[in-house]
């Protein structure tokens, strides 16, 4: 439109090669299937090295499963998320939509060889993960036909809210015109306690390296020398 010579129509094969996203309503999901058992094979050969054999993560990565209960599967709300003392948040505790897992494994995993899985392998790996979280039984085969039913068992499927003012233009369920938080514009004798309630212990000041080496050598100030006293 008004820009002669620029751009061309995409071919159907080109769109197919790149249009790989899968939406929460499963638009974009290719047909296929994979069992938990096959998923275990995929997992152990291609995923476990980073995520641990049971998705619990090895010493390095965040755990993918854990923290969800049968009750959560029933309610669609992960109860542990309400607790301030719960140690960490696994993927299965947060993810509301099974499409998200499928889409992400398909596009980005294994991390060092993304897009190397077949469609059936993606179904299988997803099934395995869901089984680890007791969302599906051990003899389950996940497919494009039954995935909508699986969605109804996602532990945190009702855990998301869009009742806020941070989506530009609004248009999401419950979206708010006004920000939820508002500061005060008090200028004089404001009712605050100017008392320090949190600061780093002296020994932790150097956890990010010697700050003297992280500031310019001229200017209004220098960086603090945070090496251990002996090294100064």
């Amino acid at each position: 439109a008004g820009y002669p010579g620029i751009g061309r129509d995409a071919t159907p094969d080109e769109v197919k090669a790149w249009d790989i996203d899968v939406r929460p309503d499963f638009k974009g999901l290719p047909p296929g299937s994979g069992s938990v058992a096959k998923g275990q094979d995929v997992w152990e050969s291609k995923c476990a090295s980073c995520h641990g054999v049971f998705g619990e993560a090895n010493s390095v990565f965040n755990p993918l499963v854990g923290g969800t209960t049968a009750e959560d599967i029933r309610t669609g709300r992960v109860a542990a998320l309400r607790r301030n003392d719960y140690p960490g948040r696994t993927t299965l505790m947060k993810v509301p939509t099974v499409s998200t897992l499928w889409d992400y494994i398909h596009r980005a995993m294994p991390w060092n060889a993304p897009k190397s899985l077949t469609v059936d392998e993606v179904y299988a790996a997803t099934a395995y993960l869901l089984n680890l979280a007791d969302v599906v039984p051990s003899d389950f085969t996940l497919s494009d036909k039954n995935i909508a039913e699986v969605q109804q068992r996602m532990p945190n499927r009702n855990g998301m809210a869009s009742a806020h003012a941070m989506w530009p233009g609004g248009g999401l369920p419950g979206s708010q015109p006004k920000p939820d938080v508002q500061g005060s514009n008090c200028m004089k004798d404001c009712p605050v306690e100017a008392k320090v309630t949190s600061l780093l212990p002296e020994f932790a000041l150097g956890a990010n390296g010697n700050l003297a080496e992280q500031n310019r050598l001229v200017g209004p100030q220098r960086g603090i020398d945070t090496r251990a006293p002996a090294a100064r």
Binding site: I6, D9, A10, E14, W18, D19, I20, D21, R23, K27, V78, L81, R89, P96, T97, T100, D103, Y104, R107, A108, P114, M160, A161, S162, H164, M166, W167, P168, G169, G171, P179, D180, V181, Q182, G183, N185, K188, C190, V192, A194, K195, V196, S198, L200, A204, L205, A207, N208, G209, L211, E213, Q214, N215, R216, P220, Q221, R222, D225, T226, R232
Partner: protein, 404 residues
């Protein structure tokens, strides 16, 4: 730790004067280096401390990780591209631009493909905008975690971006602007990052398919050769190595808007599609981990920004928020762009608690930790825009603190 570093002070002249003046330096008495010694120059060797840095232990890998911009050492509003913060999910690439393509598909009359040559022939705009990671200051939700503003606020940068308004390309493809209220933006790297983008922002002409940054092409770490620029919205939506835009009628629920970049509230729900970076500010001079050299005059200086438009006002307190003075705003004040502020301060050598508080053109005022936590708790991870406090000790040392 250390006391005020007397050695760093201006040598008061003993006798006839300062040797740095009386004994002419080598550079006053010799012939310097030739032009174009570097076809592409670099900073002084004396600036080696000014680097972007990782925060040890923050991430488990270095390719799904962050490097922070050294805000404590920057001036004005432009971030030098070499110091732009980094956030990658599957590492960065230096892509051959002659083989890069952009596809438009979904609810369009005709799916389209563009080469870089073609995109760069279209009418472009250049605009100054900040980019902030939604997780910036995320480590500080519960308590103080890191010592300097590089680590508290350094997932923030500001550049002049050049590109084609995305709306132009959507018009060329015949997009259904009525039904297609949600776009998917997708990258070409291993993560093929996907994020849902609101059509409203695109229609206003603000969202750019950008190839330029600070006068040159995007840096590889920032998505060379093509990146989506979504002013005011968290960095993760500024999809790098942009390969595809899909027009759709509902959000896409991608991993980085369903599992990450979701904000946990006290009631255990996660807010999804929280995109806007709300009004925020930070004092960068003086700031945590620094040491003032002496009593006397200082120019308190820092940065303010808002994802909703222009910053209209910044107040500064040196007594922990009991009393405030209005700071000077440095022009040009631009929408969804960093604004530099400053305020004169005569430091009497007594302990001080330095804070800044920004207001934007919608009237939104940056909240205190108390105000923010009252609504959002302490576990949100994302979108921490609370007022930052720095404690200046009698020794001149400046510490990161939170106030009760």
């Amino acid at each position: 730790a250390a006391a005020v570093g007397g050695a760093a002070l201006a040598a008061q002249p003993a006798g006839k004067g300062d040797p740095a003046i009386l004994e002419l330096p080598e550079h006053s008495r010799g012939l310097g280096q030739p032009v174009a010694l570097e076809g592409y120059g670099k900073p002084s060797k004396h600036e080696a401390n000014v680097q972007r840095r990782r925060s040890p232990g923050l991430t488990q890998t270095t390719q799904a990780s962050v490097s922070f911009a050294p805000l404590q050492s920057l001036f004005g509003i432009v971030t030098p591209s070499g110091l732009h913060f980094e956030r990658h999910h599957q590492g960065w690439w230096d892509i051959d631009p002659s083989r890069h393509r952009l596809m438009i598909n979904g609810m369009v009359k005709a799916s389209k493909v563009f080469t870089m040559d073609e995109l760069m022939r279209l009418p472009s705009v250049s605009r100054f905008h900040f980019i902030e990671c939604g997780a910036n200051t995320g480590m500080e939700w519960g308590n103080v975690a890191v010592p300097t503003c590089q680590y508290t606020h350094g997932m923030l940068s500001c550049s002049e971006f050049t590109g084609v308004p995305l709306v132009t390309l959507l018009e060329m493809a015949g997009a259904d602007f009525k039904k297609g209220r949600f776009l998917l933006a997708e990258g070409a790297d291993g993560s093929s990052m996907t994020r849902t983008i609101p059509m409203s922002l695109v229609e206003s002409g603000e969202v750019l398919v950008a190839y330029g940054q600070n006068g040159e092409m995007l840096r590889p770490e920032q998505g060379y050769p093509l990146r989506l620029v979504v002013p005011g919205v968290q960095g993760v939506s500024w999809v790098k190595y942009l390969r595809r835009i899909e027009v759709g009628d509902q959000p896409y629920g991608t991993k980085d808007e369903s599992v990450h970049y979701v904000d946990l509230l006290p009631d255990g729900t996660h807010r999804q599609y929280t995109s806007i970076q709300e009004c925020k500010s930070v004092v960068t001079t003086p700031s945590g981990g620094q040491m003032l050299l002496d009593k006397g005059f200082y120019s308190i200086s820092g940065l303010a920004w808002s994802g909703r438009g222009k910053v209209t006002r910044v107040d500064v307190s040196v007594d922990g928020g009991r009393n405030w003075r209005e700071a000077r705003l440095q022009g040009p004040v631009m929408s969804k762009c960093l604004t530099r502020f400053s305020l004169d301060w005569d430091w009497d050598g007594k302990p001080a608690l330095v804070q800044s508080r920004a207001t934007d053109e919608t009237g939104y005022v940056q909240p205190s930790y108390r105000e923010l936590r009252a609504v959002r708790g302490t576990r949100s991870i994302y979108h921490n825009n609370a007022i930052q406090s720095w404690m200046v000790e009698e020794s001149g040392e400046v510490k990161n603190v939170q106030l009760g």
